[in-house]
């Protein structure tokens, strides 16, 4: 039993990492319907910026986190303006390919600049471990979990309640009509990217610190898993990212813990497909048919 609880905790902490990345993913998707494949790479850049500020500028965690979020926000805004904006009217697949191109570009530029090797992320805070019987939780796990929940609530608030959030949703359904309301559509989309990228930056630093390992390819798999988590939860739905992330994290962990780690990913995908067949728009997606 204790073992099971420990595995659940392992699953939740892995899941909160997926969720943390998935939040930005799903928000950007929700507004401009773009699968921003470069999201994982922005997360990677965030981790490297954190590495640089801590290692080279010798700053503490909080300032590093902020700097990393700012840098990523700027990067996100630039990417949007240069690569995505010209494709607003293009097909979604074309935009997807561009996003993949950006993802390749960021990844390989990073390999070119800093080399492909892994680096150890500097440990700025001492890692406390809490023991409850034989169950262990460490401080970073709690931090990441809490951050994920808080950010989810904050994002949900921004999108549902604030004026900017409403403008974002309006832009997402009908950009021309949104213009007629006096909304500056370009700014709203930039804001969306800035917010999403800042989130990715924060995730990069936190995860870098948690696993203590960063490299230019580190964004690929979490990026993909986060995308899957977002889809599983119902893409575009912010609480869905959280739910999807947790679900995948827990399933992965339980399969490794009790089944065979060899087929972990296959089983995750199988469960995912089954869930989608039962609920074609994800766990939280509304199962409405298009009104004709």
């Amino acid at each position: 039993m204790e073992n099971f609880i420990q595995q659940l905790i392992n699953g939740l902490s892995l899941g909160s990492i997926y969720a943390l990345i998935a939040l930005g993913y799903t928000m950007v998707y929700g507004i401009i319907k773009l699968i921003n494949f470069a999201h994982g790479e922005i997360y990677m850049v965030g981790a490297f910026v954190g590495y640089a500020t801590i290692n080279i500028l010798h700053l503490g965690l909080i300032p590093s986190l902020i700097i990393s979020m700012v840098v990523c926000a700027i990067l996100g805004a630039i990417i949007e303006r240069v690569a995505y904006k010209p494709l607003r009217k293009a097909t979604r697949v074309a935009a997807l390919i561009t996003a993949i191109g950006v993802s390749f570009l960021v990844q390989n530029s990073m390999i070119y600049l800093v080399g492909p090797q892994v680096r150890a992320f500097p440990q700025v805070i001492t890692k406390k471990v809490y023991n409850l019987g034989s169950i262990q939780v460490n401080q970073t796990q709690i931090t990441i979990f809490a951050t994920t929940i808080v950010l989810m609530l904050a994002l949900q608030f921004i999108v549902k309640q604030t004026k900017m959030g409403k403008a974002m949703r309006a832009v997402s359904t009908d950009a021309d009509a949104a213009r007629l309301m006096g909304i500056n559509v370009d700014n709203v989309i930039s804001f969306t990217f800035i917010l999403g990228s800042a989130l990715a930056g924060a995730a990069g630093v936190l995860v870098g610190m948690y696993y203590n390992s960063i490299d230019p390819m580190m964004g690929v798999v979490p990026g993909l898993k986060a995308f899957i988590a977002a889809v599983l939860g119902g893409i575009g739905i912010i609480p869905g990212a959280l739910l999807g992330g947790f679900t995948i994290g827990i399933i992965e962990t339980l399969i490794s813990g009790y089944g065979s780690s060899l087929v972990k990913d296959a089983v995750v995908y199988l469960i995912l497909i089954i869930i989608l067949i039962v609920k074609p728009t994800g766990l939280l997606g509304k199962n409405t048919k298009e009104k004709v």
């Binding site: 595995q7 902490s13 990492i17 090797q117 892994v118 680096r119 203590n212 490299d215 339980l254």
Partner: protein, 363 residues
């Protein structure tokens, strides 16, 4: 075969490495090692009074691309010998190409037994290596686990996505005399190993055998030690990189053993010279990959010298006949199966420091 014409004033060496893609960390380290060797050789006057012209192409960690550039190097660039690639898969993919073109290929770190021997046990005539083969290393480590660590029960935590780790697991399993209580797997994409560690934590065992590269091994060691798993951890040459210590945190790297090609602490002059030259050039310490690639270039040089020709087929013959290569990863001869004859040296780490080494000679 189309050898490079003797009247040209350079000798071409090809490099086929993973400079981008999933395993670019190893390919890049090897590229660095190879380039350093080329530079040294040229500064020392070259080979057969000719400068070496090093032509390096990126195989994107991809088999098709590896076959393609191996062909390009052998047939269009007309190199005398190719060094690389870093992994078994890309090496195998390039094998038909170099075989057709009759050019030797020296892989620094392709470890699969089947690289130099085909399925029928015939030697692949154009493939050589400077690293260990899996069976050899796995057997040596199994023996080390029994005789030096007194282990009776082992847990395996292996990388199921790399043929390197799978080969090592297989040969370890075949020759380990104790009991294997658990065989856990992960993939190179994983960063979170808590699930499998939680699973083995309460099992009764006295050694963890961990065929994996340093990226994951470092994280597993860290997560295991933080979880309170204190048993000795035994790995292979994939551990041999400073990043292992950084990732795991030096305080966590105790009771860790791995088989190595060389030790940074080795006092021998050629090794210290290499470490210094490499560190000067790249601002980072060499690892097993760069050392093996460095040796591969020198092996190629020796082959050309002994052939007294840059004709690829002559070089192949000379390589087969090498009996006394002296490299930073050991002194060895090339055996009839194109593998180096060298012994495994197991390094012990305590608190992140090398505290000793044991030579395990193959049986």
């Amino acid at each position: 075969a189309q050898g490079s014409a003797d009247d040209s004033d350079t000798i071409k060496i090809g490099g086929n490495f993973e400079l981008t893609g999933p395993v670019s960390a190893y390919g890049t380290a090897e590229s660095n090692g190879a380039k350093l060797a080329i530079k040294e050789i040229n500064e020392a006057g070259g080979v057969l009074d000719k400068q070496l012209d090093y032509i390096e192409l990126d195989n994107k960690s991809d088999t098709t691309e590896s076959a393609s550039i191996a062909t390009k190097l052998a047939t269009q660039e007309k190199v005398s010998v190719i060094v690389g690639p870093a992994t078994s898969g890309t090496t195998k993919a390039a094998t038909p190409a170099v075989t057709r073109a009759k050019v030797a290929m020296i892989t620094p770190s392709g470890t699969d037994d089947g690289l130099t021997l085909d399925d029928n046990g015939n030697v692949q005539p154009y493939v050589f290596r400077t690293g260990f083969q899996d069976s050899f290393q796995g057997v040596a480590l199994a023996e080390f686990a029994t005789t030096h660590l007194d282990s009776k029960k082992a847990v395996i935590i292996g990388d199921s996505s790399s043929d390197y780790a799978i080969g090592l697991t297989k040969s370890f399993k075949n020759s380990y005399t104790g009991e294997i209580v658990a065989d856990e797997n992960f993939t190179a994409d994983d960063t979170d190993f808590n699930a499998i560690l939680t699973r083995i934590k309460d099992k009764d065992f006295d050694v963890i055998y961990m065929p994996a590269y340093y990226e994951q091994a470092g994280l597993i060691i860290k997560q295991a030690r933080e979880m309170g798993i204190e048993q000795p951890i035994l790995g292979a040459d994939g551990f041999s990189n400073q990043a292992l210590l950084d990732l795991a945190g030096e305080e966590n790297v105790s009771n860790v053993y791995y088989s190595a090609h060389f030790s940074l602490n080795n006092e021998e002059k050629n090794i210290q010279d290499f470490i210094k030259a490499y560190t000067d050039e790249y601002k980072t310490a060499p690892d097993a990959f760069s050392a093996l690639a460095y040796d591969s270039v020198y092996l190629a040089k020796q082959g050309i010298e002994e052939a007294d020709s840059s004709d690829p087929e002559e070089v192949v013959k000379a390589l087969e006949a090498i009996t006394d290569f002296q490299g930073v990863t050991g002194n060895f001869a090339i055996d009839e199966n194109h593998n180096p004859v060298k012994s495994v040296f197991v390094i012990e780490l305590q608190d992140g420091k090398e505290v000793g080494g044991t030579e395990v000679a193959p049986k």
